[in-house]
């Protein structure tokens, strides 16, 4: 593994690049499509005649990929300036390509952090809005969109529109979690969260089975701002680890100067057989054994607490050249922990080789028209892509749809249009907004062709 000396924002590795067309993919490296990605500092100009805008390409499936006839798409990567920051209120306005990586390095040490953080910092503000990302504090803080006060968009009609919870609200609500389909996001204004130190005080414990894990997870949310669980769904019990955290007080924080660590990279594609039932069972067992049975408490670096996998660049290469998908769904609260446990058993029985599965309880639904989270328990399961993956996703979707749950479009690559429609009664409202602002549906993606019936 090569060590990366200068911490520089990594860009999702695309399959191959020629001067004419690029083979584009999401973080899961499946599917791969031909497309032309245009990059530049002037996003307003860049988005004049493109069918989609993408950030760092960290959505897993096809949501940041062009439709077949979509032509050129724009990249926000170079449009990454902070346009205003008020150190009194924490209100930040920036160009859509500003990464969480850069934001963390600029402001965490000065006492400001994103109100909601996904599991990687290699995402842009625009992408965080389009996915309406959630994090370990969803039960308390909701999604990212709840903290956004303004969005500057280029609508499909070409018009530039300032939106917010009190201006063009319909368009704003559809854009939050709207997968970039309601307009090209040019600028984002968000209220950051004040923190007393850049360090995290964290506590973790093991749970012997899935039901206990899920119950303790929900309980922990009553007193901790950040909670998450990892479940070993390859083990019959569904045992796991519960992790809780809060920002450390200045007195608890280390006295050493706060710095961000570097990263190592996986320099080649691992062979496809590296991920197999035995290796995954061993990995999970080792992970749990390493934790031990006692409760662990102490100070954690925000990188290891929020972004454990960011320390390994290109970790998606571990799944081999066929890539992988992450299946993330929510089982609604009304169905109860028993339904979630049943789903966990189903995952094990279908034999989809889940590594450690991330489990999190969601708080109330936000105003985003297609926003993913709703009260209940969410599962995020990494699955290597094989011939059986579409069938496996369909079986899981049968159960999720029947329970009244739904899947996270940012992760999805294999859901069928029928399943999506069954899970998404809100689709008509979303279509209404698009009809108004983009009657010809000029803005579209490979995913919107697959799930929303847009033209190729």
């Amino acid at each position: 593994m090569r060590s990366v000396a200068t911490p520089v924002l990594p860009v999702t590795r695309n399959a191959t690049a020629t001067s004419a067309a690029t083979r584009l993919s999401g973080w899961g490296r499946s599917p791969v499509v031909e497309g032309l990605e245009r990059i530049g500092e002037d996003l307003e100009r860049l988005t004049r005649d493109v069918s989609l805008t993408r950030g760092l390409g960290r959505s897993y499936g096809d949501s940041s990929l062009p439709a077949k006839g979509g032509g050129t798409i724009a990249s926000t990567r170079l449009a990454d300036r902070i346009l205003a920051f008020d150190p009194e209120t924490g209100v930040l306005r920036a160009e859509a390509g500003l990464s969480l990586f850069a934001l963390n390095r600029a402001l965490l040490d000065r006492g400001w952090f994103t109100p909601v953080s996904p599991g990687t910092q290699f995402v842009t503000l625009g992408g965080m809005v389009a996915s309406d990302v959630h994090g370990k504090n969803h039960h308390e803080a909701g999604t990212f969109g709840r903290h956004v006060s303004r969005l500057l968009l280029r609508a499909g009609s070409g018009d530039i529109v300032e939106t917010g919870p009190d201006v063009e609200r319909e368009l704003f609500d559809a854009t939050v979690g709207g997968m970039g389909l309601t307009g090209h996001i040019l600028e984002v204004e968000v209220r950051l969260k004040r923190v007393n130190s850049p360090w995290i005080w964290s506590e973790s414990e093991t749970a012997p089975d899935f039901e206990t894990l899920a119950e303790r997870l929900v309980d922990a949310g009553r007193s901790w701002p950040y909670t998450v669980a990892w479940a070993d769904l390859l083990h019959p019990s569904g045992r796991g680890i519960l992790v809780k955290g809060r920002w450390a007080e200045p007195g608890e924080a280390p006295t050493t100067k706060f710095t961000w660590p570097g990263a190592v990279a996986i320099p080649f594609d691992m062979p496809g057989w590296a991920i197999n039932p035995l290796s995954m069972r061993m990995f999970n067992a080792l992970y749990l054994a390493k934790h031990g049975r006692r409760t662990r408490t102490g100070i954690a670096h925000p990188q290891s607490f929020f972004y454990p996998l960011d320390a390994i660049l290109d970790w998606n290469r571990a799944y081999g050249s066929r890539g992988f998908t992450q299946y993330q769904c929510v089982i609604p609260k009304e169905s109860g922990v028993a339904a979630a446990a049943k789903f966990a058993r189903l995952v094990r029985e279908t034999g989809g080789l889940p590594c450690l599965v991330v489990v999190k309880d969601f708080g109330p639904e936000g105003p985003g028209v297609l926003s993913f989270p709703k009260p209940g328990i969410t599962f995020a399961i990494d699955l290597p892509v094989t011939d059986v993956t579409p069938g496996l996703v369909a079986r899981l979707n049968d159960v999720v749809a029947a329970e009244g749950g739904r899947v996270y479009l940012t992760k999805d690559a294999f859901t069928s249009r029928e399943h999506f429609r069954a899970m998404e009664p809100r689709l008509a409202a979303f279509d209404d907004v698009r009809r108004r602002w983009d009657p010809d549906r000029k803005i579209r993606s490979a995913q919107s062709v697959r799930l929303l019936g847009d033209n190729e």
């Binding site: 520089v8 530049g40 500092e41 300036r81 920051f85 930040l92």
Partner: protein, 244 residues
């Protein structure tokens, strides 16, 4: 440090200006589009720098250079360094086909950059010394079939800057000639990407180090010193055969 910066809104200049801002430098921004300068000013101030002035100056219009430098000097009071990263790019084909474009690239990258340097040198020496850091390019080290027009402007610029350093280093003017290899920016977007290509953030620390130390010539990344040494030692009949 007090810095006059021409070209901080985009590409390598943006990354270098951010490094300076992070350590609290005061930067007067000079450039063509004042609205865009103001956006960069906000960015640099959020990162910890201060930007006392954003001043219009068009590198294609010589008459705007001296007044812009005068305003920058006035805004900063004392100037420690002038950094010039602005420039234009054109592909060999485009520059051969379009005389107007050729004129713009040669004027911006050579003639008027020299005017900026001359005016800055006079001011810096008058004030007792300082650093003048200018971005040239490895493409000015050896003509190649695919980049000799752009390369000619950069070769002329490198030649000029080395001469300036020879003559005025003793008078207190440290001329820092930066020769970047292929850097992925908006300027090089769409070009075939050669080996050793990198991003502005990766080379910005080395450029700031060169400014601080007053390094005469700095290849960034450093590997390009050896790559260009190899390319410069190739016989002409080989260069005629190569298509890079």
């Amino acid at each position: 440090m007090n810095v006059v910066f021409l070209g901080a809104t985009k590409g390598i200049g943006r990354a270098v200006a951010r490094k300076l801002a992070e350590r609290g430098d005061r930067i007067a921004l000079i450039g063509r589009d004042v609205e865009d300068l103001k956006r960069s000013a906000a960015d640099l101030e959020a990162l910890g720098g201060s930007v006392p002035a954003t001043i219009p100056c068009d590198l294609l219009d010589r008459a705007t250079i001296e007044p812009a430098l005068a305003s920058a000097w006035e805004a900063l009071g004392k100037v420690d360094a002038v950094v010039v990263t602005a420039g234009l790019f054109g592909t060999q084909d485009a520059l051969e086909a379009d005389a107007d474009m050729r004129d713009r690239v040669l004027t911006a990258d050579f003639t008027n950059t020299v005017h900026v340097c001359e005016a800055s040198a006079v001011r810096l020496i008058e004030a007792g010394g300082g650093t003048l850091c200018v971005l040239s390019s490895v493409s000015g080290d050896r003509p190649r079939k695919t980049a000799y027009l752009y390369g000619a402007a950069k070769a002329g610029l490198s030649f000029y800057l080395e001469g300036l350093d020879l003559k005025y280093r003793d008078a207190g003017l440290k001329t820092v000639l930066i020769k970047p290899g292929f850097i992925k920016t908006g300027m090089t977007e769409g070009l075939p990407v050669p080996p050793f290509a990198t991003v502005p953030e990766a080379i910005a620390p080395a450029i700031v180090r060169a400014i601080d130390r007053g390094t005469g010539v700095a290849y960034v990344p450093g590997i390009w010193r050896f790559v260009m040494l190899a390319i410069c030692s190739l016989p002409k009949f080989v260069m005629r055969k190569l298509n890079f």
